[in-house]
Subunit: 312 residues, 2 copies
Amino acid sequence: MVVLAGGVGAAKLLTGLVRAHPPHDLLAVVNTADDTVLHGLHVSPDLDTVVYTLAGAVNPDTGWGLAGETWQAMNALDRYGGVTWFRLGDRDLATHMYRTHRLGQGADLAAVTAEIAAAWGLKLAVLPVTNDRIETKVTTADEGEIGFQDYFVRRRHDVAASAVRVAGSARARPSPGLVEALDNARLIIIAPSNPILSIGPVLEVPGVRPAVAARRDAVVAVSPIVGGAALKGPAGRLMRELGHECSVVGVARLYREVAATLVIDEADAHLADSVEAVGISCVVAPTIMDGAESATAVARVVLGGLAAGGSA
Amino acid sequence: MVVLAGGVGAAKLLTGLVRAHPPHDLLAVVNTADDTVLHGLHVSPDLDTVVYTLAGAVNPDTGWGLAGETWQAMNALDRYGGVTWFRLGDRDLATHMYRTHRLGQGADLAAVTAEIAAAWGLKLAVLPVTNDRIETKVTTADEGEIGFQDYFVRRRHDVAASAVRVAGSARARPSPGLVEALDNARLIIIAPSNPILSIGPVLEVPGVRPAVAARRDAVVAVSPIVGGAALKGPAGRLMRELGHECSVVGVARLYREVAATLVIDEADAHLADSVEAVGISCVVAPTIMDGAESATAVARVVLGGLAAGGSA
């Protein structure tokens, strides 16, 4: 079973999936297009959010970073006028230091990620979508094209965007085993992550979108848009700015070529027919995940998504 | 006034010099051959020891690192089985992060060092001997040739060495302004640092040794060997292993081509004639620096070294 994942929303669904399904049967395929090099350190925000969350170590207030974190390094960096808008906690730094060290030794990101996941005791497999460097670039009105973290963190995604592209994606190769896993998965889940900034780059790695589309009947997506807005982050604003409808119908249109089923929240039940009119089966269920129980409930809906799909 | 400097011993003398002489008239030229890249971060141990010590921020127990440091990142790195034998405190990490960031932006090490020194409020100039990468390599009996930090920290310099070389030195260029500073200095001080591991690499950067030798009459060295042993570190053992006498006479032989005067400790007063027989003037004085006062006293001896040199 394969889960295409971004950060916080995907991590929540995964905490439910490992409760509802044997973890060793799960493969989380994680976006790396928001990876960045800061202070010489390779930072993989979505991978770390998934790992920290599944390890029960994530900061529950933010959904990213580690609980009980300290900030000595960041505070000391202030003395130099260093880059501190991207907050890296002291313990979190160790993850980036380890990753950077191992990549420098020639290990690939998939191997390093497996080591990090194992160190946190995870039983599911966590795989970056590619070992190659891909980077989301956002074209803004006032600064032109900027890096993803510049947009997302430094500008707090509070700036108009007119285009998104994934630099490096044309020559990126899917991580070893990924296409085979998609070919053979009983179920492929598209997590409720940003369709443009998180799932988009995953699908854009050459070979991935066709592999998912070829399995369309086995693909269930969970809408990250609820009640016409993103639960978190810039998905809603960005969908509008890039000409998509910010609704479950807009999500359905983005996914209709790769997914046969879309799970939408009860708040959007009145749009179920419009979703199906796009050509995608619709499952209506509670999708808000505010803890392990609700995440497990959503996971169970997703796991039964294909069977229920036709009857929505 | 130029000071050729390694780490702890040099930093102590510099704290005395800035008390005994206008700091803006001092240029500390610091060894970078023990720089290393750890976890992707550019670490410059001697530069940092000099800066932290002069800033009054150094850990007084170790002579390196920051006082009151925390170790969250190192402790977290243990989870991954990461490289933790080289201890980097959380606040110290910020220095390496800033340096790595700026070098990545294309700044040279001299510029970054000046920024770091200014951030700590230093009034003297601190200059890496070269902006180019040089790295001391030590040939050991059991592991062959290893990097300096492997030898110094990981092996705690508790291993027989048969050779030392400075990789990269043949093509290194002295930092901009360094040769001119040596040409014009009223006094050039060789700090009581390891003659082989700290001062050796400084002199080995092409252009430096000839520039210092040309000013031999203006050069005063302070012996790091007192009573036949190094005050700190592996200087004594290494001198013996590489065929040098571990005494002020051995130091005199190492420096006679570049220095006209050697300051030796009172404990070695009986060797003053032997030092002079090597062809270098000898000044006998207390040289143990265990605080600001004694460091200032040593600094005053050094500043008066040339005048007193003939009368030892």
